[in-house]
């Protein structure tokens, strides 16, 4: 069996007490320099973060992201690596490693403690018992589940009971529609005990913001009630294999839930591929909404690449268009009335790096009602 990279994960410790001793030793070592200058070193932590991963590279990528965020969100991160494949021949057991990566410019403070809990074999029963004593008391607990959350799994349920917030990424879901449905059920059960975040929803924030800002303009606000069609494009890879439409679906579901639209039914995909829905507006008028896969360079699979909203009002036809620029860092926002450009601007599109997304989410504690409503609508879409 291969051991983990101790230069990244730190030395192995036998048991919780040894681990805490090792952490204390590391803290002292890190603060020695500061103490020479007569300063007392504080340990800063504003949250506990439990990361669940079943592959070492995933665990490592997550740990790296949290470490990059340490100055913004000082934390204790408990990375659970459940090595299920190592079942045969080995007893189920748990190993721990700890590490205090130095954080640039934060010499006065210890602001990131990283603990790896590595479970080999079938350890679902015992994993939670290793996590509970490691949590810093009285701080909120975020559970970041990488990959598909097994919503009926035992370990998922146990860890969720400890958490104030669950973070998942529907861009990684193998069967998005199914899993998003299960996630909606999880939200239902949460009932304020914990909030649910989908990083894919966070990626949509800039899109939601600019679609929204069109209708802040009093002259254009009335068109919002008279939308006749919506088209959302999302990226797929070159060979156009079926990819993950969760982001596009969430955007459509968000519009629908905010505007009181009622999904009627999904229509078989057209030749161009993608998804087509028949939807009933709040005033009972029927409209078509389409999610269209497109190949675009520089985009991750599933990322929204453009939105086009059409609306008719007292004989005027307006189009509100947001399009990614060829360089994916900017987008163009355009308003056309009767085919003529009335207004246009270019705005930066924030980097969708996972670090940024997580950083944004860690700042929020409560549940996101708007997301949950969109999710419920999404379930009814197809």
């Amino acid at each position: 069996m291969i051991d983990v990279d101790t230069s990244f994960w730190g030395a192995r410790a036998d048991g919780i007490a040894a681990l805490e001793r090792e952490l204390a030793r590391l803290r002292r070592a890190q603060s020695a320099h500061a103490r020479e200058q007569g300063r007392t070193v504080a340990r800063a932590a504003v949250l506990n973060l439990i990361v669940y991963a079943d592959r070492e590279p995933h665990a490592r990528r997550a740990a790296q992201s949290i470490s990059d965020l340490a100055r913004r969100h000082p934390s204790r991160a408990i990375v659970l690596l459940a090595d299920r494949r190592a079942r045969e021949g080995a007893d189920a057991r748990i190993e721990m490693h700890c590490h205090l990566p130095t954080v640039d410019g934060a010499a006065k403070q210890v602001c990131y403690e990283q603990i790896l809990v590595r479970a080999r074999g079938d350890s679902d029963d015992r994993l939670a018992s290793a996590v509970i004593p490691l949590l810093v008391p009285d701080l909120p607990v975020f559970l970041w589940w990488t990959g598909n959350p097994p919503t009926d799994g035992r370990i998922f349920g146990q860890l969720l009971r400890l958490a104030d917030r669950l973070i998942v990424d529907s861009a990684d879901f193998a069967r998005p529609h199914e899993t998003l449905g299960e996630l909606a059920d999880v939200c239902e059960q949460a009932r304020g005990r914990f909030g649910v975040t989908d990083l894919n929803w966070t990626r949509l924030t800039p899109w939601r913001e600019c679609v929204t800002s069109f209708f802040d303009v009093p002259a254009w606000r009335p068109f919002l009630d008279k939308i006749t069609g919506v088209r959302v494009g999302y990226a797929v890879d070159m060979d156009g294999r079926d990819s993950n439409p969760s982001q596009a679906l969430l955007l459509i579901a968000w519009l629908a839930s905010r505007l009181g639209w009622r999904p009627l039914h999904a229509i078989a995909p057209s030749e161009a591929g993608g998804l087509l829905f028949s939807i009933e507006r709040a005033d009972k008028a029927r409209i078509m909404v389409r999610a269209r896969p497109r190949f675009e360079r520089g985009l991750e699979d599933g990322d929204v690449s453009g939105v086009r909203i059409q609306a008719d009002r007292s004989g005027e036809r307006a189009e509100f268009v947001v399009k990614r620029q060829p360089d994916p860092r900017h987008q163009t926002e355009t308003v056309l009335v009767d085919g003529r450009v009335r207004w246009e601007r270019i705005a930066p599109l924030p980097s969708p790096a996972i670090v940024e997304l997580i950083g944004e989410e860690l700042a929020i504690l409560g549940s996101d009602r708007i997301y949950e409503e969109a999710l419920r609508t999404l379930v009814r879409l197809a």
Partner: protein, 507 residues
Amino acid sequence: MAATIVNPLREGLRLSRTPEPSTIVIFGGSGDLVQRKLMPALYNLALQRLLPGSFSVVGAARQPLTDDQFREELHRAVGEHSRTKPINEEVWKSFADHVFFIATPDERGYDQLSRRLDQLDTELGTNANRLFYLATPPGAYEPIVKAIGAHGLRGRTGWARIVVEKPFGHDRESARALTELIHQVFREDEVFRIDHYLGKETVQNILVMRFANGIFEPLWNRQYVDHVQITVAETIGVEERAGYYEQAGAMRDIVQNHLLQLLALVAMEPPAAFDDKAVRDEKVKVLRALRAIADGDVARSAVRGQYASGFIEGAAVHGYREEPGIAPASRTETYVALRSFVDNWRWEGTPFYMRTGKRLPKRSTEIAIQFRVAPHQLFSREASEGLDPNALVLRIQPDEGVSLKFGAKVPVQGIRIRSVNMDFDYGASFMVDAPDAYETLILDALRGDATLFTRRDEVDQQWAFVDPIIAAWAASPGPPALYEAGTWGPAEAEALIERDGREWRKA
């Protein structure tokens, strides 16, 4: 605020109230303030997508410039002064498309400005929402305000607001006159007097510290607090501001606005709500309760100083009177120390010591709440030798944060007590680039939130406090006490606090 139909998509987004589509009209064209602060702030707001969808900037000044020349000047300025670099050319270009310039050397110019604004309303659907920004020297305020009124620049629909920069008057009389002038065209709730200190995150954090926490406020009174020290220390000298500073001095430049704002925030009663009326009502109450340093007390409770040559960070620097543009016999103060009281139920008998100065050894703005010592000395004198009274220090800049000083046992046999600092480092706990104060304030003004702006009665009380001290100094024959640059001010300032058996903190 103009009634608008609710946008149902807005719910749950970062800004629950974004500014409505609007135009900002900047008087002062591409002057220093516009280049260093205003434009970089607007550009960064655009970069963060915090500006409304339809937004335009119209610069106005006496000298003629084309739109393109104006844009070019601003582009250069933003490139130099923006807190985010390098400049994002695509965003800038799209932003600059809605930047215009109108020369206003005479009445015809203002008519043209008026037409341009109407035209923009039609093109962009901005509904004549207009924010006027006075970024000119104060001498130019009067003709501009009058022209806004005379040429109907306010527009027929939509809202109109005016932002006024400091200095707001040079004494109580002139501040009142200025308010009256502005009130000919704008209502008080449309006037936004900027004190950029209030836009700083850490200054707002004073309110959060005090009123979002349950453990500090019970101690925040005369019973537990021995005294309060407020320090605004600068290392810079008078720089290029000689002309203004000779007339103003530290009292008008810092005490009247920034220092008294800090005092108000730290001493105020809890407001009933976090809105412009409640917060500012409480601040005014504190300023009213601030004990005047009247004629006879000035010598005892106020110290002025002026820097002589010395060393700052190892480099030799000139004295104030040797600086370019300063009169060789100038009596302008570059240092002020004050001792006053807030005469109300909470603070009766608790001294507030305030000091500010240029060419002090270190740049530091902080508020220190010095608590009383423990009532009974349990431990021997030698054991507690290293023990200072508890202090809670709110550091405003640099190194924004909070420290609490308390006694801890030194780990040796027997008892020996030392003071230790528990530091909360604002920057390290939320390592987001704090927005610049101007970004916060411009956005607030566009949204119509006046909480962080100074109201007329506040300004009035501020002047009421500083005017008599300035008058007494003007009447006294002696010059300000000299202090060597790079020291913590004149010996008289030490004496001011030592008379009470206390000392200035090592900031």
